[in-house]
């Protein structure tokens, strides 16, 4: 049942979704790029002096069309078949994974290459062209076996839920598992000539000029962080700002949009915390009159705080109404991308993040992505709510189309687009 969205509503929703999809595709492209680089480093290569190897053929696993393409009716049908197709792909992949496990021969463990401990990178024997050629065809596969999807923590992604990942690697493993088996076996006798990170990575040294520049760089950053701007500067700066404000016809007490937004976030948090605290107090059972009195005082305090927050919200509402008559941005983007937001950063330049295991790193990466996804989902939910709920409530559509709209809306808004409800029409005659 076709339900058409009106042009302006459609324009906004499509723009939002396309924005999200484009950003995703861009990120995927970047990730695949760095995956290619990392994989290449884990194969055999020659430290300094080799021409750049081409990225291995077939490493592109992008199969789906660009995110902004229009789905044909056939696409829509294919969407429904997608889950089944994925299941099948997984079954095939599982079989291959097992083969690949067996294919991992112990040849990688060979560490019997004699090199004096002080040897530098340039002293590592140059490997032959043949090795370079071979390495462009070998593919790293170990990483694939380590990719695990923490299935239970992503209930909103139904397509591949509770299943191993698809996409990267699956196809490659199938295509090259046999080939790799040959490689590891036949490559073994030449191991003495081959440079691999695993065996000789520890011998690598960065060139002197670079080490110098890097050292200077870290010194300069330290210097920048340790010297503070002096009082004379701050005074001169403030004087300039004051003069500018005085020469302006706009009142300085006015909230800017970015202020309103940040204050609103803060107040939302406040509201949640106040409610939580109230519930705690209300559910507590005081055992003596002291506790009872304490509870009463707390509730009174909370009441006063709620009143303060409410006044602040009203103030913000007024400020925003003024903003709405002025020029506006397309989206609210900048609060984190510009230092005006009042955020104080104490340390600039490269910082270190310490991890101790692959798994720890993977958890971190997944969590950050999940937080980003949740934020995007909340944003989309709000946009969809604003556009779809009024459509349902006006009931311009009647009968079947309206029911279809209700189902789709329910699925998008309440089920994250994953499940559908069933509607039974009860004949009043029965």
């Amino acid at each position: 049942m076709a339900v058409l969205l009106q042009a302006d509503c459609a324009r906004r929703l499509m723009a939002e979704l396309r924005g999200a999809l484009d950003a995703c595709a861009e990120r995927q492209r970047q990730l695949e790029q760095s995956l290619r680089v990392s994989r290449r480093l884990l194969q055999a290569w020659e430290p300094v002096g080799t021409t750049a190897l081409e990225p291995p053929p077939g490493s592109k696993t992008k199969k789906d069309p660009s995110p902004v393409s229009t789905p044909s009716p056939q696409d829509l049908k294919e969407l429904e078949l997608l889950t089944q197709a994925l299941e099948k792909a997984i079954r095939v992949r599982k079989g291959i994974s097992k083969t690949a496990e067996r294919g991992r021969t112990p040849s990688l463990k060979s560490g019997s290459i004699a090199l004096s401990p002080g040897t530098t990178a340039s002293a590592v024997p140059q490997s032959s062209n043949r090795v370079g050629h071979c390495s462009s065809r070998t593919r790293p596969t170990k990483g694939i076996h380590q990719t695990k999807v923490p299935a239970k923590s992503h209930p909103e992604l139904p397509l591949v839920r509770n299943r191993p990942p698809v996409g990267i690697g699956a196809q490659a493993t199938r295509l090259e598992s046999n080939h790799r088996e040959q490689m590891t076996l036949s490559g073994y006798p030449h191991a003495a000539e081959t440079f691999t990170l695993k065996e000789k990575g520890i011998l690598l040294r960065l060139p002197m000029a670079f080490r110098k520049a890097a050292f200077q760089n870290s010194c300069l950053w330290t210097h920048l962080n340790s010297t503070q701007t002096n009082d004379a500067t701050n005074a001169a700066k403030n004087q300039f700002l004051q003069k500018m404000q005085m020469s302006s016809s706009i009142s300085s007490s006015r909230f800017s949009a970015v202020d309103v937004e940040m204050e609103a976030q803060c107040l939302q948090k406040a509201c949640a915390l106040l409610r939580l605290r109230m519930q705690e107090e209300l559910s507590a059972a005081p055992i003596d009159w002291m506790q009872e009195y304490r509870c009463l005082l707390t509730l009174e305090g909370l009441q006063a705080m709620a009143g303060q927050c409410l006044r602040k919200v009203q103030e913000l509402c007024t400020a925003l109404t003024e903003q709405l008559t002025g020029p506006c941005l397309m989206r609210r983007p900048l609060k984190t991308s510009f230092p005006c937001g009042g955020r104080v950063c104490t340390s600039w330049g490269p910082q270190l993040l310490l991890y101790s295991s692959t798994q720890e790193l993977q958890t971190l990466a997944t969590l950050r992505l999940r937080v980003a996804m949740l934020k995007e989902r909340i944003h989309l939910e709000k946009v969809l709510m604003a556009e779809l709920l009024p459509m349902v409530s006006t009931q311009e559509l009647q009968g079947e189309p309206w029911l279809a709209l209700c189902r789709a809306t329910h699925s998008l808004l309440c089920e994250g687009g994953e499940r559908f409800l069933t509607i039974l029409h009860e004949d009043p005659a029965d």
Binding site: L21, R39, I168, L197, L310, L361
Partner: protein, 436 residues
Amino acid sequence: MGRRRRRMDKEASARAGAGARTLLDAIAALSRSLPAGPNPEIFRRAKFDRPEAAPALWQLLFRLLAPLQVDRATASLGPGAQARWVKAVLCYLGYPRPALAQLPEDGSHGSRELLLTFSWLLAQGPLLEWLLAQTCVQLGDQVPTVECEVLTSPGLAAIQMDAEGPVDLRRLQWLMGKLRFQWQRLICSQQEQCALLSKIHTYTHGCHSDRNLGHLSVTETEMLRDPEGIHQQLRALEQENARLEAALEWRRYEPVFWQWMDTVLGACPPEGPAAPMFRSRIPEHECGKLELATLQEELQTLQEELQALRELLCEEVLSRRQAWEAQVGGLGRGPEWSAARQTLQQNVDQELLALQQSWKQDRSPSLPQGPHRLVKIKAGSAGAKGLPVAEVIRLLRSQEASLEAVLCKLQGQCQQELARLVGTVPGLIWILPPRC
């Protein structure tokens, strides 16, 4: 006498010369520390409002304000669109001078106003340091991750979007499904990337000249594979060093610059009653309105929630106060009691103050900002300088939980609203999908 006066003149002109020199130095240092900073001469010409300085300053402002990740999208924006973007962002940030909004977007004049705008941005916060940190050479490996800013790229693309006709709702569903699938793909790729990074770090352990880092990063290892990369990175690093040196120099001369800016401000004619024009000159973007309208709706909801909360508290307090008075009223009100009451009041006040702090402090999120170089250490090794991942994970988990709660609440609201709407039609039975 005459000789003496001549000497004094000479000294004064030398002093003035030195002053001018430091100002030139200050501007030169500023210009060198900015990414693709304009020629120092531009700043001088802008003081005299020379029209030829305007385009370079519009560009500078745009570069400072356009988020880094939309560089590709912005490359296609013409000067007019860039100027509109700059105006809108500055309005959003609360820039106080309406004169900016009245400048022509073709860059034909207004360089002095633009210089003032730039200086306002510079005075707002540590702009140079922030810019340097944003554009610094990334030699280390980052957590392969997506910041929310990247996922929700600002609507620059939307500016250029064409109008469309009606759209089938199923297309929307199709796109949503696709988005979910893409997210899943991202997770898978990230997992693999993490595994590969960890390996490279282990294999190159002890190779870095900096002991704090210990191992090489992908970029550094790649440089050893591809010598061309070394030259590029070395050049980039040297450029960054030059900018850092310029920034340090700028800090020395900065006060002179601000004094000079005072004179620039003084050279501006006083503002006329221009406020109404400010409103009407900028074309209004419908989407932008909607965006702020969403914020307004949020505030409205918040207001209702707070009102409900306050009313509930009001009732509870009233009934409890009465009950308590009735119960305790007959008891003695000696000095002991009043002391106990005071202590209680103090305790409660402190507790509530702490509660208030907890939401006020959270304004600047405690999650680490900016790029962090990943360093693999042996488990349990102490004394390493840096932020432990475990700490970030802990913060992220709590953030995840609160976001999930927000989403759940929104979904619940929708469910209620839909149930209400459907309830108005008789004879329908809704069977909700099973929860897995």
